[in-house]
Structure formats: C-alpha cells, structure tokens
C-alpha cells in the first residue's frame, strides 16, 4: 500500500521554445502513514510533483504506481484515485464558493455519490477535525478569518476521507497563530487517522518540528531524501541551493566547532536545550 514514482519526468511546453523540464527522473516511494515534508524553492518542481500524485497531470516519462497498480494503466479509475489522494492547493480558501460553511464542505462527498446522511456525517466530522464547531455551519465562508477559511477548505478535502493528504503550502500568508493551528491540526490528524501526509513548505523550522521524512527538490530532482536529521546534516549543500537548515542547527554546529561537547544532529530548540544543559552540567 503505497505510492511509487518510477523514473518520472515531466516537461512543460514540450517542443516549444518555452520547454521546461519540471521533473527530471524522480523515483521515490511514499509508504502508508508517513508524514513527509516536501521542500524546495519556487520553480523546483514541488507543485508539479504533487499534482502527479493524484493524476492531475500525466508524467511525460516514467510510471506511477498506486498500491502496486499503474495509474496510467487502462481501466484504472482516476476518479477513485482522486478520492483516495486528497490535494489541498495553495490558498485553498479561494475555492470556497457555497453560501455557508457546511454546504461547502458537503460538496466533495456529494460528488462521490454518497447518500445524504453519509455526506452530512462526513462534513460534520471533517469540520470537527479542523476545529470548526457547529456554530460556524451556517456562517458565510466570507465572514470568516483567513485561518478559519483555510481550515474550512481543508475540511472540504478531508470530507472525501482521503488515505493520502497532500497540502501545498497550507500556511502561506497566515500569521504565526494561524500557522500553528493548521499544522497542529494536520499533525493530530496524522496521528489519529494514520493518514499519509505530504506537506509542501518553505519553512525548515516547521518541517523539522513535524515530519518523519524530508524530500528536498531542486531543478526537478529529489536531491535529498531522509529524516530531518539526515537531511539537515547537509546544511552546507542546502545553502548552495538557496535553502537553509533551521537556525538551531547552525547554533549547534557553531558550538561544536568551538569545542562544546554536543551532537551536531540537532534540529529542534527542545533538543538543543537538553543537549546544552547536559554539556554545561557535565562540565561542572
């Protein structure tokens, strides 16, 4: 049970002067239940990659397997794939269109052809999952704050009960409070439902705090792939491609260079705190 990319390439505008190779022979496996951070600059191919995962764009070369079956094989149901792999676009609140919150969240499951009771049960559950209680059900989506709108939009995808949830920069433009709320909800969802989550992000700090695995994209290739510790070990190479490790990783490396006994593989403030205290106490 997994999504498997086999040597996938994608070329925009093939055969024209505007030809761009957005994905360049990418091979990777996304097993069930993993929480993955997908990182890279604008134009690195992150968005192109995730749009392949639910068949919104078709690979120019290579193959994608969903639970062992090629999604490009004849007879493979794209509709079913899209109900299993839920994609939350950037600024998803721009896609809210119904007159009230509850109806908007019902739209997805309604399109799956479910009966009315099931639709409503799913909408209610999805809204609860993103922390929007019933008092908002009848509100117009346009009366809500930016963070609330975004949570409603995410609920719209959750109501489809996807096995894999992909979020394209879900915190872009939100303030720190809104960002923490969304990421905490996603982390909770991952924990409680066991969903596979792919989080596209620009923030190394956020990614280091939440995910099991980081995939770094650059020029259409997956250049690093591993646990946050493994990936941030390459902080110097990350800098060369215009990315950076969390600030705390730099602090720890600087301390280490100066002779402080500390493990360089530290990616969160909490780890650094414990390690520094230990270093100082042992000294005493």
């Amino acid at each position: 049970m997994a999504i498997e990319l086999k040597d996938v390439s994608y070329v925009y505008g093939a055969g024209t002067p505007m030809e761009v190779r957005a994905l360049d022979h990418v091979s990777l496996t996304i097993p069930d239940g993993q929480f993955i951070g997908l990182i890279g600059h604008t134009g690195s191919g992150k968005s192109t990659l995730i749009q392949h995962l639910n068949g919104l764009i078709k690979a120019t070369e290579g193959d994608i397997l969903y639970n062992g079956r090629s999604i490009y094989a004849e007879g493979f149901s794209m509709k079913e794939l899209r109900s299993k792999v839920g994609l939350v676009f950037q600024y998803p609140e721009h896609q809210l269109f119904e007159t009230d919150v509850f109806t908007d969240v019902c739209f997805g499951p309604k399109n799956l052809g479910l009966d009315k009771e099931e639709i409503q049960a799913r909408a209610r559950e999805a809204l609860e999952l993103v922390g929007m209680d019933a008092s908002y059900d009848e509100a117009s989506p346009f009366e809500l704050s930016g963070g609330q709108k975004r949570r409603v939009a995410i609920a719209g995808v959750l109501a489809m009960k996807p096995e894999v949830l992909i979020l394209d920069e879900p915190t872009a433009g939100l303030d720190p409070k809104g960002r923490d709320e969304i990421l905490d909800q996603v982390a909770l969802l991952h924990k409680e439902r066991g969903n596979t989550v792919v989080l596209v992000s620009h923030s190394m700090e956020d990614v280091a705090k939440y995910v099991d695995r980081i995939i770094v994209m650059n020029h259409g290739r997956a250049v690093f792939d591993g646990t946050p510790k493994e990936v941030f070990r390459h902080y110097k190479e990350l800098e060369q491609i215009g990315l950076a490790a969390p600030q705390v990783t730099y602090i720890v490396h600087r301390l280490k260079e100066q002779g402080f006994p500390i493990d360089g593989d530290i990616t969160t403030v909490e780890e650094a705190r414990r390690a520094i205290l230990e270093g100082i106490r042992n000294r005493k």
Binding site: P176, K177, G259, R273, I276, L277, I280
Partner: protein, 305 residues
C-alpha cells in the same frame, strides 16, 4: 513632533446588517499613541486582526480616526485640505503585488503616479530612472509586469511609490504572499531605501525575522500597542511574545529557555554569535570569571585541606 505622530488614535469599524443599518461596532484601533521620527525604520508586529493594517491606513488618510488625531508631516489627516500633502508625505505599498500594478510595461507603471499629479514629462522620466535604480529593477524597465516574480512585482510597486518622492513609505505586509527569495529581495530593497535615501519606513508584518533589523518595534494586539522598544528589548520579553503567540527567533527562544533553566545568559539574544560566545564563556568558565569556575574553587580548597 516626528513625521508620524498619533495621539489617542481610535478607529471603529461599523458593522452593518443586510439592509445597511448599523449593527454593532468593532474597535480596531484603540487609543494608540506613536511618534515616529524622520529617517527611522519602524516595524509593527501583530496578528491578523490586531489592528496593524487599520493603523497603517491612517498613515496616508485612507481611513480617518473615529477619535484622536494623527499628524503626518505635522499635518492633521482629518482636515480635508491636508489630504494631498499627507499622501505626498507617506506612500503605501500593499500585500498583493497583483492588485497594485496597472501599467503594461514596468516603466509606464512606475511613471503612472507622477503623471497623475501633473509632473512634467522630463521630470517623470528622471524619477522613473531613479526609482527603478533604487529598487534594482532597471534591467526590467521594458518588461511586462505580469511576467515578473512576486518579489520583483513588489519592487516595481515600491518604485511606483518612490516616484512620488515621499518622505515616508508605509508597507502593509508587503511580503505575506511571497516566497522566501521574494521576501529577502523586498526587505533588502526597503532597508536600502531607508539607509541610502533616508526614507522613513513603517513596515507592517507578522514575520518576526523581518523586524530584527528595525530601529524600533511596536507590537500590536487587540487594537492596542502592547510592547515597544528595540528588537532586542521586545524579543527579550520572550514570555510576553509567546503569550501573544508571536514568533521569536530560535536563538532567542533557546537562550530564554536556558535562562529559565538557570543559565546566566543575557536578555534578548538575537544573534548566533552572541549566543555562542556566552555559552562558551559559561563552558570555559574557569579562566577569569563565570560561575563554573566559582563552583570548582571551593572543591579545590577542600581537597587541599
């Protein structure tokens, strides 16, 4: 009096029902006093809904105070006769670059403002040249704005404001919709305008890393200014910042946490250099001062006896 001075500035939004009748009042800015000197780089930090954008809109008379007064270049914005002077003194840059660009070619867009106020053609071109140079976009002057990146578009928007020759630029979350590279570009541009052209800058943001280089930071919450000081002073009050659910740099947070654990570190450490120096001094405590040495000393004496 500074270039921007607000005295007990208060603004109420009036909520209306479907028929347009008043239906409650929301106080967005609540008795705010500020005084910003010409040439300062000031940042206003706060959450969505904290009133920072409402405050910004008073700085070029897009909104007029419900109560209190705001002076821009010593002119009261509530007096209609001052409107043009106020807007000439303070230019504004908004969040979404796509909403601010109207020209089909970069240089035309930048020249739009001065043309509107009847600046002679030659002078317009001079201003366009200078403004594009100031934001580092001269190479793109004949480009179509819609082909530019978000950061480049924002720089064109800033050039458009610069062409009006304001003394002060108010930027309302200019980087919220940009990627990290675009954010860096815009910030670098704003800092240079402040340093080289001595433009007063008011930067409204919710990204803490953008305020670190400001001369002064105001933190807003619920329509009020709740904290004020240098970045070091403001971030040094880490617990308060956390209570407002604002970010502090990881190095500041780590120092603060370690301080809670009893390590004698300075307040408001903002740089990795300072942090590493202080930790290493504690660690190597023996040579000179530092408490690690002090702890050891009595032990040594006991051993000698």
């Amino acid at each position: 009096m500074g270039i921007i001075k607000a005295i007990k500035l208060t603004y109420d939004y009036i909520k209306r029902d479907e028929e347009g009748n008043p239906d409650g009042v929301k106080r967005a800015v609540d008795h705010v006093d500020i005084d910003i000197e010409a040439g300062e780089f000031v940042a206003v930090l706060g959450h969505n809904g904290s009133g920072k954008s409402t405050l910004a809109k008073h700085m070029n008379a897009l909104l007029l105070p419900t109560e209190g007064t705001i002076f821009i270049g010593e002119k009261d914005t509530s007096d209609e006769d001052n409107l043009w002077d106020v807007r000439k003194t303070a230019g504004m840059v908004f969040q979404n670059p796509d909403n601010q660009i109207i020209g089909t070619v970069v240089e035309e867009d930048v020249g739009f403002g001065p043309e509107n106020i009847g600046v002679p053609t030659e002078e317009i071109w001079k201003r366009v040249d200078e403004s594009l140079k100031a934001v580092g976009m001269t190479a793109y002057r004949y480009h179509s704005p819609n082909k530019l990146s978000g950061g480049q578009k924002q720089r064109v928007a800033i050039a458009g404001v610069m062409a009006m020759r304001p003394k002060c630029i108010v930027l309302d979350e200019p980087t919220a919709m940009l990627d990290p590279n675009g954010r860096k570009e815009v910030l670098r541009t704003v800092r240079e305008l402040n340093r080289k052209e001595h433009i007063t800058v008011v930067l409204i943001t919710h990204y803490m890393e953008e305020v670190i280089e400001a001369d002064r930071v105001f933190v807003m919450d619920d329509g009020r200014i709740v904290m004020e000081g240098t970045p070091q002073e403001v971030f040094g009050r880490t617990q308060e910042m956390k209570d407002y659910r604002l970010d502090v740099p990881q190095v500041t947070e780590l120092s603060w946490e370690l301080k809670q654990d009893g390590l004698p570190l300075s307040d408001g450490i903002l740089t990795i250099d300072q942090f590493v120096d202080e930790i290493m001094e504690l660690y190597n405590g023996g040579n000179g001062r530092g408490d690690a040495g002090a702890v050891e000393a009595p032990g040594m004496e006991t051993a000698q006896r």
